[in-house]
Symmetry: C2
Subunit: 345 residues, 2 copies
């Protein structure tokens, strides 16, 4: 039985030191050369060695596991961030426990506690923070407890705590959308918004409206319909917008999934041509936006790099320095879904 094989046996068979074997099989902080990693893993497999994660965790108060919390794993925004993050974790010999909140805010606090109970060494929160409220306060106190226990935390967006943070330029990206639509002579705009308690939504919304006013427009030019960051939510919100603001000649959806739903509603249900009758803009630049029935004008975020950078802040060489911040660019990408406002006859 494999259970009697020791780490020493594995190191000897591989012809490498015990420390190296431990780093590979228990996920130590130093990176091991790929060739050595392969030799250790092969020796472990041949001998049937199985290390005991929980025993090591007790001895060290931590495990070779990091926690990653997302809202929806099947939303490509999160799947792409997760891919980048997991690539870095994997390169450091770490496993990733992925917790999916299904958009349920109570579950997020719950997961932080459960992951702490499992003694994960670090936590990455990929979902947007909330605007200051009781829920965000509960989350922050759970995260502070995790940090007091020796864990590290990184977040996407500004959670206003002692965490490393990756900060996408949501305001700047949304301001570019305002200028693009203004330059195309659109004067009445529909916005498909996301969950109002998320800072990501707040930043994209105010980024657009502030820029719009700076350009000479007024807040009255803008009609906002509520979406939920999903494709189907964007579909319903588009139908609502056409009823409430039939004169709007351009629609800005605060993420690509909702823009995809809006394009479907305009084509299938409303019989409007894009961009002849209505221009549509999204946000995120998901990979499939170039393959849509009308390729989507959107704001590109470097999603995979955001995941990579956030995980490096947790487990990379300079993680010990303390909380860090990285600002990430957001750039307008113009495709076929936007064009000049129709000339009124």
């Amino acid at each position: 039985m494999g259970s009697e094989v020791t780490l020493q046996d594995v190191a000897e068979r591989a012809g490498l030191s015990l420390a190296t074997a431990s780093r590979v099989l228990n996920g130590g902080k130093r990176v091991v050369a790929a060739a050595s990693t392969a030799r250790i893993l092969q020796a472990a497999e041949e001998l049937g060695y199985v290390s005991n994660g929980p025993a090591q965790a007790l001895a060290r108060s931590t495990t070779a596991v990091v926690g990653l919390i997302v809202h929806e794993v099947d939303d490509p925004y999160f799947a792409t961030i997760a891919k980048g993050a997991m690539r870095v974790a994997s390169a450091h010999g770490l496993l990733t426990t992925l917790a999916n909140t299904f958009g349920d805010q109570d579950l997020e606090v719950d997961y932080v506690q459960r992951l702490q109970a499992q003694r994960v060494r670090a936590l990455l929160l990929a979902g947007s923070p909330r605007l200051a409220d009781d829920q965000q306060a509960r989350l922050n106190s759970a995260l502070e407890r995790f940090i007091r226990g020796g864990g590290r935390v990184a977040v996407v967006g500004d959670h206003r705590g002692p965490y490393s943070a990756v900060l996408p330029a949501n305001r700047r990206g949304a301001a570019q959308v305002a200028r693009h639509l203004f330059d195309l002579r659109h004067r009445r705009i529909g916005i498909i918004s996301g969950p109002a308690h998320l800072t990501t939504v707040h930043e994209r919304l105010t980024g657009f409206t502030d820029a719009w006013v700076d350009l000479g427009g007024t807040p009255d030019d803008i009609t906002v319909a509520d979406g939920d960051f999903s494709r189907d939510g964007g579909y319903s919100a588009m139908i609502q917008l056409v009823e409430r603001a039939p004169e709007a000649s351009a629609v800005f959806a605060l993420n690509d999934l909702m823009a995809i739903g809006a394009l479907a509603a305009l084509h299938d249900d409303l019989g409007r041509d894009v961009p002849g009758d209505v221009s549509v803009v999204g946000f995120d630049d998901l990979w499939m936006t170039v393959d849509l029935r009308v390729p989507l004008t959107t704001v590109r975020l470097p999603l995979e790099a955001m995941g990579t950078r956030a995980m490096e802040m947790l487990v990379g060489a300079d993680a010990a320095v303390g909380p860090q911040q990285a600002r990430m660019p957001a750039d307008l990408v113009v495709r076929a879904s936007t064009g000049p406002a129709p000339v009124s006859s």
Copy 2:
């Protein structure tokens, strides 16, 4: 500090039994009513209770964690299966450690060992098994070691081991594609294949060709180009196919991602109309196939239900019965990307 708060304290504050508190916070096998779960979690939070997963794991030789291994988390095929699986795990109070192999077959065996070292109680492999070879033998021996250690295993596809399995009707779905294209009078077919060592690829490929011959066609009617199950692989394979089999009037890509790449190549690089010049069919029915520049004819697999069912086999009420099998349907969905073969002039 929270570390001095006991489970008993939490149970008392919630006014519930110690057993219930344990089930909620340590993820026992019995499901706890939602209201009781909420009361326990609130009491734990108020008291700052943090359970010790590794200590419990040592006592019980297992943790409230299940392992899920996928090839690419940002491939919507896997993301959707993962969502279904994680929903069930979460409902049973279990966390999910998601391991991403990046399509690297060595990593898959490695992950099984690492997850066993972490004492996960069950493993779900969402990626296709390989045709019988050394690599698959290594994977099976790692899985057998995991089962001898008391773990449970479920797989998507036929891994030929004592595992619970969800079996999508790949052959039957591909046969429906053959009939559909034959009925539309296509007689020369291009196939964009996936990694040749995967049983999923073998089943879809032979399912098509066997049905094609039954319909009166011959294997010589079919030209196969190699893809890698990615969008960009489908793009390159499409260009290759047009060079090698310019007379092919229909293309069957063995998954939707490659079909999306093929549509892009036909539109952007080759200037061919779909379906006027060439018909295109995919496989899987990813959510965005209705939103493409040409809505895609494809074979629908119930991806989220596949994940749900596989996880239920691992942690649901009847998991103790032993390995189970569930056959999942595969049904052709006809959309705009297929039409009659062009009449030769």
